[in-house]
Each structure stands twice: as C-alpha cells, then as structure tokens.
C-alpha cells in the first residue's frame, strides 16, 4: 500500500517536472523580445542589450531553466515585469478569485447533477431521465463564452439583477462577492454539469441494478434507507472525486469567462501576461495551475484507493 502511494506521489512529481520543462521551453521560443517590449520602440540598441543582460536572457537556456526551477522550489517565482512586483504576490491576489469561482461553479454543477442524476439513475427512462439527458447534451455542447454573453445581456443589462462585471472581494462584502460571481459560475457550471450528470446517473443506475440490491429488498428495508445507505454511498464516490478533478481543471479553464466578466483571476492574468510577454508571470501562473491540478488528481486517486481496495492493485 505504502509503496503504491509512494509510486503515485513520485509520478505526480515527475508530471510536474515535465510540465515545468514544457512550459519553460514553449515560452522561451515564443517570438517577441521581452527587452524591447519593456523599453518601448524608442529604446536604443544598447539599452535593449543592457535590459537583456538584466533579465538574464543571454545566459544558456539550461542555466535559465534551472535557475528558475531553483527559485520555484524556494517559493520565488521571480519578478513580474508587468506589475512590477513579485510573481507570487500577483498570483496570490488572483488565485482566490479563480478558486472561489471554480468552487462556486463546481458546487452549482454538483447540486444540479446530484439532483437530476440520482433521480434519473433511480428512474431510468422516466421524464426526469429525459430531462437529465437533454441537460447533459446541452451542457457539454454549450460554448461557455456564448452562454456568458447571453446571461450577461439578459440578467445584468436587461434585468439588472447582477453586476455586469468586476469582482467584490469576499472579505469586503460576502453577498456582493457571491453576486459578482453568480453569472460567471452559471456559465461555467453548464459545461461541468454535462460531464457530472452523466457520471452520477450512470453510477447510480449501476449501483441500483447491482445484485446486492435484490438482497436488500429481501431484507425488507425501506426504499429511502436503501437509496441512502446502499446505493448512494457507493455510487457517489466516483462522481464526487471526478467533480474534484473537474474543479482543478477549471482553475485554468476560466480564461474566456474571466475576460468577459472582467474578473481579476488567474485566467485573465494568464491571457494578459501572454499577450504582454511577461514571461515570468506566464510561467508562474502555468506552474501554479498545473501544480494544483496534479495535486488534486493525486488526492482524488488516493481517496479512491482508500475507499476502494480494488484500485490499489492496479498499477499503471
């Protein structure tokens, strides 16, 4: 058991290393000279050269990479050129926004998926099931950014129920914060629903049609008890952990939505930093998001392993 856990952790670390290496290489070959960008077009060639030295752009790539990696391991992601402050500081300001948004969207998606999914799984082919299927299909086919525009048009501009854009920090005004994140979360939740609803429905359906259900009927247990104790307990581990993984992925998948609603989160930070060629910031955001995803996936794997002894055997 311990060996398997150690193996998984090792693999996660390896993945992270690969991620950092890929991100670093990709960004270093990107066109657009960072030094020219900082100085503007009127800069003299000498000034650009000095700036290149300062930014360490003239040292060999390998050296640059390990220098950066060393910094990452000690919690130093470098300095953001765009915001003239440490990358960790900029990310620390943006991270809660995206985290909150992802949590909110996942929570919404979970509530809807669990509601419809359980009902649909217990009554396959009923009208609930049909609704659930339609929701699944539309959810996964709906372009989140289009939905977002439509929601904004209707609820913010026309009905004026929610703020159109901008973000209110949680500690300042919890209600305002929830309000500012509601529409973006809805737009994201639609896509999540598409994935989760199907998982919930199928695993409830499978659990309900399992042979052991027959014996509970024989035992004369009430239907509610059967559903709560026997079906859901087993059936929901998979959907809930997959919701966890979805959420982690969402951390990096909110680019368009954050741009539309002007939320100061990681996604928009990534887009801005890519467009402005703030390489240190891009690398920082990428590595933080990748680390979150890898970590959450590892946790989910371990949880599944703990709950389901069968999974322990399966080594990749």
């Amino acid at each position: 058991m311990l060996k398997v856990v150690a193996y998984r952790c090792g693999a996660a670390l390896a993945v992270l290393f690969v991620c950092s290496l890929m991100a670093f290489c990709i960004l270093r070959v990107a066109p657009g000279d960072a030094a020219t960008l900082i100085l503007g077009q009127e800069a003299t060639p000498q000034a650009v050269e000095t700036m290149r030295q300062e930014l360490g752009l003239n040292t060999p790539l390998v050296q640059q990479y390990f220098g950066w990696l060393g910094g990452v391991l000690t919690g130093n992601l470098g300095e953001s050129r765009l915001y003239a402050m440490p990358v960790t500081g900029v990310i620390a300001q943006a991270f809660p926004v995206t985290l909150l948004l992802s949590l909110y969207a996942t929570a919404l998606a979970l509530v809807i998926s669990l509601g419809f999914g359980i009902a649909a799984g217990l009554h396959p082919n009923s009208w609930v099931d049909v609704v659930a299927r339609i929701l699944t299909q539309f959810g996964s086919a709906m372009p989140a950014f289009w939905l977002a525009i439509m929601l904004m048009l209707f609820f913010s501009s026309y009905l004026e129920w929610f703020p159109v854009s901008g973000y209110v920090p949680l500690q300042e005004d919890p209600l305002g914060c929830i309000a500012s994140l509601t529409l973006p979360a809805c737009a994201l939740a639609a896509g999540e629903c598409g994935v989760l609803l199907r998982t919930v429905r199928n695993s409830v359906l499978e659990a309900a049609s399992h042979d052991s259900m027959l014996s509970t009927q024989v035992k004369g247990l009430t239907r509610v008890r059967v559903i709560c104790i026997y079906i859901l307990k087993g059936a929901l581990v998979a959907p809930v952990t997959s919701a966890g993984m979805q959420m982690a992925k969402l951390l990096g998948g909110t680019v368009a939505i954050e741009s539309i609603f002007a939320l100061p989160g990681l996604g928009r930070l990534l887009l801005t930093s890519v467009e402005q060629r703030d390489l240190m910031l891009v690398l920082g955001v990428v590595i933080v998001i990748a680390a979150c995803i890898v970590l959450v996936n590892l946790l989910c794997d371990l949880v599944i392993m703990a709950l389901n002894p069968g999974a322990r055997q399966k080594q990749p």
Partner: protein, 284 residues
C-alpha cells in the same frame, strides 16, 4: 415483468431513435453547409457594405448584417469550414499520433513506458485552453496553429485509451501465441492490437470532434485562432461581443450554429458508442 421490460425497451428504442435523428441531422447539416459554402454562399462573406452596418434580419439578409455590413448568413456558413477543418483534421491528427504513442509505449521497456506516460500526463495536466494559449504563442495565430493546438489537446486521451487497451490485448492468448511464433512487434501491433482497439477509438473520435470544435471556437473567441477577416464562429462571437448591447442580433446566428454542430457531433459519439456496445453484447 416481461411486458414491463418490453415497454422499457421500446421506450429506450424511441429515445435512441430521437437522439439518433438529432445527431445525424445536426452533424450532417454542419458538413453539408461546410461543403456548400465552398462553392456557394448567398453573398460574398467578406464583401463589406458599409451602409448596411448592423442591419436587422430581413428577407434579403435572413440573419442581418455585421459591423461591416457583411451578410451574417454567408459568414456563418463559411465559418463551418474552419470548424470542420479543426474538428476533423485536428482530431484525426491527435488520434493518430495519440494512439501510436499509446501502442508504441506498451511495446517498449518499463522506463520508456513510464517516461512516455508521464509526458502524456504532463500534457493532460494543462487545461485545454491554457495549453493552446502557450502553443499559439509560439506558432502564431491562425488556422494551422489552432489545428495543431487542438490536436495536441486531444492527443493524450487517445494515448491513454490505446495504452490501456493494448496492454490488455498484449496479455491475450493470441498475442502471446504470435510472440512465441516470433512475429515482429510491428506485425503484432498492426495485426492484433490495432484491430482490437479500433472500435473504442472510433467512439472516442466522434466525441472528440465536438470538443475540438468547441476549443477552436474558444481560441478564436480569445483572438488566438482563426484571424479576421476570415470567419469562424468564435471570431464572429468575439466581434459581436463589442456591439452586443446595441445589436444583440449579430451574436445569435454564430452561437446557434456552434451549439448545434457540437451537439450533433457529441450525440453522434454517444449513438455510435451505443451501437457498438449493443453489437458487442449481441456477439457475447
């Protein structure tokens, strides 16, 4: 009991038939519109008619005109081209490369397997849009880089599935027998492994087309995919976002087209998967 089962079965069948129709109709429309737009559109999709800016839908322009007075219907039709190009092109590319990596990995040593699969995991750890953003940064914007970015995004799924499946196949008696006869690994892969995993990959393939179209649209929406003046549903939506409060009608057609196509291809994936599993069950 038996009548009940029959009723349920007929209901399932009816449900399937409806989704089958929707899937086929929507995906077929997408492909047909794409083909038609190659030879004919009601107007030149890039011809500007400035006095007609933001014209509302009318008989001559069923979806109205955009910010340059271009016909939205024509543009929506033409935009099916990049969608299909990325949908089919990127997915085939990703599927080919991905399954090749998956199959090859199983034939290699333990170390090679671990390295390849960690790389695949590494790609998977990036959310699609983030990965595409970085790739587009390197390759520049445009159809080709969107295509490559999307194919890199779908690649790991295929690699994983083919890896798992071919591991199973490799344990099978047939492969072991072939190995004992001294068949070359390439021959084994082509004659035994590939046919076995093909159907599972096919299901994945049709489902991935919808995802790919969605990702292409998202990229174009962010200005990183198809470049104006070329039309793509994503760029059309992003252009319309500037004017959406005053002229909401220009966002309707491209959005619906995108939704319809993705819906069609996603459902087609489900239908194919159902058909294949049913056939599998019958055979068993």
């Amino acid at each position: 009991m038996s009548t009940n089962t029959q009723k349920t079965r007929s209901r399932i069948r009816r449900g399937h038939r409806i989704s089958w129709y929707i899937a086929v109709v929507f995906s077929a429309i997408t492909v047909i519109v794409c083909l038609v737009s190659l030879v004919w559109t009601p107007y030149d999709p890039s011809a500007m008619d400035l006095p007609m800016r933001f014209a509302l839908p009318s008989w001559s322009h069923p979806f109205g005109c955009d910010q340059f007075g271009r016909d939205i219907l024509s543009r929506t039709m033409v935009a099916a081209q990049p969608a299909c190009a990325v949908g089919f092109g990127a997915v085939s590319l990703g599927a080919l490369a991905g399954s090749a990596i998956g199959v090859i990995a199983t034939m290699g040593s333990r170390v090679m397997r671990a390295v390849l699969m960690r790389i695949i995991d590494g790609i998977m750890a990036f959310p699609g849009i983030m990965l595409a953003l970085m790739l587009v940064l390197v390759m520049g914007r445009g159809l080709l880089s969107a295509l490559i970015a999307v194919s890199v995004f779908v690649l790991p799924t295929f690699a994983r599935i083919s890896y798992q499946l071919s591991l199973d196949v490799n344990q099978s008696l047939a492969v072991r027998a072939a190995q004992s006869y001294g068949c070359s690994p390439v021959r084994i892969a082509l004659c035994h492994v590939v046919p076995h995993i093909a159907s599972a990959l096919l299901v994945q393939l049709s489902a991935a087309i919808g995802t790919a179209m969605l990702l292409e649209a998202a990229l174009s929406f962010l200005g990183l995919g198809i470049q104006p003046p070329l039309a793509s549903w994503g760029t059309m939506l992003s252009e319309s976002f500037t004017y959406v409060i005053l002229h909401p009608h220009i966002a309707v057609a491209p959005g619906c087209a995108l939704l319809g196509s993705v819906l069609g291809f996603n459902m087609l994936g489900d239908v194919i998967s159902d058909v294949l599993t049913q056939r599998g069950n019958h055979a068993a």
